[in-house]
């Protein structure tokens, strides 16, 4: 079946550095992608999204890049802070309203 995967299960960065979390997707029909952040014991929180007709979108301290040629999605967090420590999921939607989620990458921020 179709799947959304992540290259690294855990990413450790120093406070102030930039973080890059990667995601590979497998369905070329996917037209919408989302990044979520999930802190321990909480539900996933929407961070940023991007449509397939774009290759870059910026938010506050976050940037999502989409490379449709290699089916790759990344989330860049600038000046990573301790509050960014969480599990990050990418999700794709090749169909109507259902999302396919990756298993997540844990981001650990060290002082």
């Amino acid at each position: 079946g179709e799947s959304v995967g992540l290259h690294l299960p855990t990413l450790s960065v120093q406070e102030g550095d930039n973080s890059i979390i990667n995601c590979a997707y497998s369905n070329s029909a996917s037209d919408y992608f989302i990044w979520y952040k999930q802190e321990s014991g909480k539900g996933p929180q929407f961070i940023i999204d991007i449509r397939s007709n774009m290759d870059k979108r910026q938010g506050q301290r976050v940037t999502v890049l989409l490379n449709k040629t290699v089916k790759h999605l990344s989330l860049q967090i600038a000046a990573t802070q301790p509050g960014d420590s969480a599990v990050y999921f990418c999700a794709e939607t090749p169909w109507t309203d259902k999302l396919i989620f990756g298993t997540g990458t844990r981001l650990q921020v060290f002082p």
Binding site: Y32, I34, Y36, G41, K42, G43, P44, Q45, F46, D49, F89, T93, T96, D97, K98, L99, F101, G102, T103, G104
Partner: protein, 114 residues
């Protein structure tokens, strides 16, 4: 801001009990979803609903049922709880297909079945 609430943060039930998990959203969203989340398995879709009184099976519907009598409320029912249903349950809602497909999640209910 979108708000999705779930009736309980933590629940402890015994095997064989009937369990109700309630979810309410305040953004007039048509679509609502129930997921379970387990370590190493990510989010798995149990059931979803596009409208009142409508429901669709997700990837793992066995042992679960749902009810959507009102647009803002989507209930997940475990008819006879089993230990393998111990999990984190997450509810989500999203606007109709013509809009963005982003799903907004509640805080989750951590269910322990003894």
């Amino acid at each position: 801001d979108v708000k999705v609430t779930q009736s309980s943060r933590y629940l402890v039930k015994r095997t064989g009990e009937k369990v109700f998990l309630e979810c309410v959203q305040d953004m007039d969203h048509e679509n609502m979803f129930w997921y379970r989340q387990d370590p190493g398995l990510g989010l798995r879709l149990i059931y979803f609903s596009y409208d009142v009184k409508m429901k669709e099976k997700g990837d793992i519907p066995e042992g679960y049922s749902v009810s959507r009598e009102k647009k803002e409320r989507f209930s997940l029912i475990l008819e006879s709880a089993s230990t393998n249903q111990t999990s984190m349950y997450l509810c989500a809602s999203s606007p109709p297909t013509s809009g963005k497909k982003t799903q907004y999640f509640g805080p989750g209910t951590r269910l322990l079945v003894l």
